[in-house]
C-alpha cells in the first residue's frame, strides 16, 4: 500500500540506489574501508528511506484525514501508528540488508560479526519510524515535510561521517549522542569486528544500543505529546 504512493516509493528507492552508486564510485578497500562505507550508507539509507518516508506518510495521512478515519475503527491509537509505520520499518530493514548484500557482491569482505548487524538495523529502523512520526507533527503538508526532515538527515549524516573517519574520544562521545549515529558506529563495528574506543567506560556495542533505545523513547514521548489526528485548523 505504501509503495502505491509514487513519492513515497521513489524516496524509498532513492536511498539504496544512492548508496550502491557511492560504493561503485568510491570502491573502498579492505574491511575498514567497506565497514566505514557500510556504516555511513546504512544510516543515510535509513534516514532517506525510512525516516523521510515515515515523516511523509504520517503527514500526508494526517492531512488527508486518513488517520482520523482509522481512529473511528476498532484499532487503538498506538495500533494505528504501528500499523502505518510497520511496512516502512520492514521495507527499510529489507533495503538495508539488500544494500549491504550488494556491497558484498561488489567485493566487500563479509561482515566479521553478522549477528551484531541486526541490532543497528532493527533499532535504527524503529528509531527512524518513531522519529518520522514526531517530525510529522511539525509538518503541515507534503511541501513542508521536505524541509522538516532535513535537520536530522543533515546533522546525523555529518556526525556519522565524522565518527566513521575517527575523531578524539571527547568528540566521539558527543557525536554518538546525535540521534541515529550509533547505527553507523554499530554497523562499522559489526563489519570490521573492531569496536571503536569506549565512551564513559561503555563499549560501543553496549553504549550504541542504549543510546538508540533512549532516542526511541524520547521520540515516542515527543510524538505522543505533540500528536494530532487531524490537520491543524
Amino acid at each position: 500500500m505504501v509503495l502505491r504512493r509514487r513519492t513515497v516509493a521513489l524516496s524509498m528507492l532513492a536511498g539504496p540506489l544512492m548508496m550502491v552508486f557511492f560504493a561503485v564510485v568510491v570502491s573502498p578497500e579492505g574491511p575498514e574501508g567497506w565497514g566505514m562505507l557500510a556504516g555511513i550508507s546504512g544510516l543515510i539509507g535509513m534516514l532517506l528511506s525510512v525516516y523521510a518516508s515515515a515523516a511523509t506518510v504520517f503527514t500526508l495521512r494526517r492531512e488527508s484525514g486518513a488517520l482520523a478515519r482509522l481512529r473511528t475503527t476498532e484499532l487503538s491509537g498506538a495500533g494505528i501508528v504501528a500499523a502505518t509505520g510497520a511496512p516502512l520499518f520492514v521495507v527499510g530493514m529489507a533495503q538495508t540488508l539488500l544494500v549491504l548484500a550488494v556491497f558484498v557482491a561488489l567485493g566487500a569482505p563479509a561482515p566479521a560479526q553478522p549477528l551484531l548487524l541486526v541490532v543497528p538495523i532493527v533499532l535504527g529502523g524503529a528509531f527512524c519510524v518513531v522519529a518520522g512520526a514526531l517530525t510529522s507533527t511539525f509538518s503541515s503538508g507534503a511541501e513542508s515535510v521536505q524541509f522538516t526532515v532535513l535537520p536530522l538527515v543533515i546533522v546525523a549524516s555529518v556526525a556519522a561521517n565524522l565518527l566513521a573517519t575517527g575523531v578524539d574520544p571527547a568528540l566521539r562521545g558527543a557525536l554518538l549522542l546525535v540521534p541515529g549515529t550509533p547505527v553507523a558506529d554499530l554497523i562499522v563495528t559489526a563489519w570490521t569486528g573492531v569496536p571503536g574506543p569506549a565512551v564513559a567506560g561503555l563499549a560501543p556495542t553496549v553504549l550504541g544500543p542504549l543510546l538508540l533505545v533512549a532516542w526511541i523513547a524520547i521520540a515516542v514521548l515527543g510524538a505522543a505529546a505533540r500528536w494530532r489526528w487531524t490537520p491543524r485548523g
Partner: protein, 316 residues
C-alpha cells in the same frame, strides 16, 4: 450487534459537557440523550460546537467537564468497546486514494469485529459498478457513498454522521437518506449534523440547535417549531382602524392598506381572535393567512440570539 440493550437504555448519554480550545469555549454545558432506533439531528452554524460535541461523544477528546456514556461506557477509556458498535461518517472522508472501492471496504472489514459481505455492502450504496476503481478516481458523491458503506459495515448500533450530505448531488443524497431510514428501521441510533434544515425535517425524530457551544433548543420537530410563535396575517382596507390586541403588530401596505400580523404560539386561537374581531366589526380581511413557524425561522432566531439554553435546552 443490536439487541443487547433494553430499548429504553440510551445509546448516548451526555451531561454537562464542556470543552475549551485554549481560552475559547467550544462546548458549554451540553446535554444530549439519544435512544436506539432514533435519528437525532444536530443543527448549528459553523463554529456552533457540533463537530466538537461529536468528537467528545466518540471519545476522541476528553471533556473539560461533564460526562459522556456510549452504551453505558466511557468512550475515552472504553474506546474499542464503543467503536465496535459505532460507525462514523466524518466531514473529511480520509480514504487512501490508491486503494480501490473493494479494497477500502475489505480494509474496513479487517479492522472491524462486525461481519458483513463486501459486495453487498458496496451494492447497497450503488457502487457495485465501481468496485475495482481506485478511490482517487471517484467523484465526490461516490466517495461519500463509500463513506456511508464503510460506516454502516456490519450494521452498527450507532452511526454518527458529521455533515454527510454537504456538497452531495441529489442522487447521492437520496441514497444517504434511504440508508439513514434503513438504519433507524433496523433499530440503530443515528446522530446527524447538517446545514440542510430540510434534511432534519425529513429524517430526524428529534433535533437540537446549537449556538455558541450550547444547545439552544432541543426536542421533536413539533415541539421545536412550537417554541416560536406562529403568525396570522391579513390586510385591512384603507381607512379601517386596526384592533388593539396583545401580540398584534401593523405595517403599511400598498393602496393605503394596513398589514396586520398577530403572533401567538396557539395558531387556532390567534386565527379565531382576529377573524372574530373582523366579523364583529364587519371588517373584511384581505389575504388572510395562518402560518406555523418554520425550522428556518427557529434556526435564525436561535443562531442570532444570545438567549440560549434554559428549560428547553436539554436534548433529551
Amino acid at each position: 450487534m443490536r439487541g443487547r440493550d433494553t430499548p429504553d437504555e440510551p445509546v448516548i448519554e451526555a451531561h454537562g459537557l464542556e470543552f475549551r480550545y485554549g481560552g475559547t469555549v467550544a462546548v458549554d454545558d451540553v446535554e444530549l440523550v439519544v435512544h436506539p432506533g432514533e435519528v437525532f439531528g444536530l443543527l448549528g452554524t459553523n463554529g456552533a460546537g457540533k463537530t466538537t460535541t461529536l468528537e467528545l461523544v466518540q471519545g476522541f477528546r476528553r471533556p473539560d467537564a461533564g460526562t459522556v456514556r456510549l452504551f453505558g461506557l466511557d468512550p475515552v477509556t472504553a474506546g474499542r468497546a464503543v467503536r465496535r458498535r459505532t460507525g462514523a461518517v466524518l466531514q473529511q472522508a480520509g480514504f487512501l486514494a490508491e486503494l480501490t472501492v473493494a479494497e477500502t471496504v475489505r480494509m474496513t472489514a479487517a479492522l472491524s469485529s462486525r461481519s458483513d459481505d463486501v459486495d453487498e455492502c458496496i451494492t447497497r450504496v450503488g457502487l457495485g459498478h465501481r468496485r475495482d476503481v481506485a478511490v482517487g478516481q471517484l467523484s465526490g458523491g461516490e466517495r461519500r457513498r463509500l463513506d456511508i458503506a464503510t460506516a454502516t459495515w456490519g450494521g452498527p448500533d450507532l452511526v454518527i454522521m458529521d455533515e454527510p450530505t454537504t456538497g452531495l448531488d441529489p442522487e447521492s443524497r437520496r441514497v444517504l437518506w434511504a440508508m439513514v431510514r434503513r438504519l433507524r428501521a433496523d433499530g440503530a441510533a443515528v446522530v446527524l449534523t447538517t446545514h440542510y434544515l430540510e434534511e432534519v425535517e425529513a429524517l430526524a425524530d428529534r433535533l437540537a440547535i446549537m449556538h455558541a457551544g450550547r444547545v439552544a433548543i432541543a426536542g421533536t420537530l413539533e415541539s421545536v417549531l412550537a417554541s416560536r410563535p406562529a403568525a396570522v396575517t391579513a390586510e385591512l382596507d384603507a381607512g379601517v382602524h386596526p384592533p388593539r390586541m396583545p401580540g398584534l403588530s401593523t405595517a403599511a401596505a400598498g393602496q393605503g392598506r394596513t398589514v396586520l400580523r398577530l403572533e401567538s404560539t396557539d395558531l387556532t386561537r390567534a386565527t379565531h381572535t382576529l377573524t372574530g374581531w373582523a366579523l364583529e366589526a364587519g371588517v373584511r380581511l384581505h389575504r388572510l393567512r395562518a402560518t406555523e413557524a418554520g425550522l428556518d425561522e427557529v434556526f435564525h432566531a436561535v443562531s442570532g440570539s444570545t438567549d440560549v439554553a434554559g428549560p428547553t435546552g436539554v436534548a433529551r
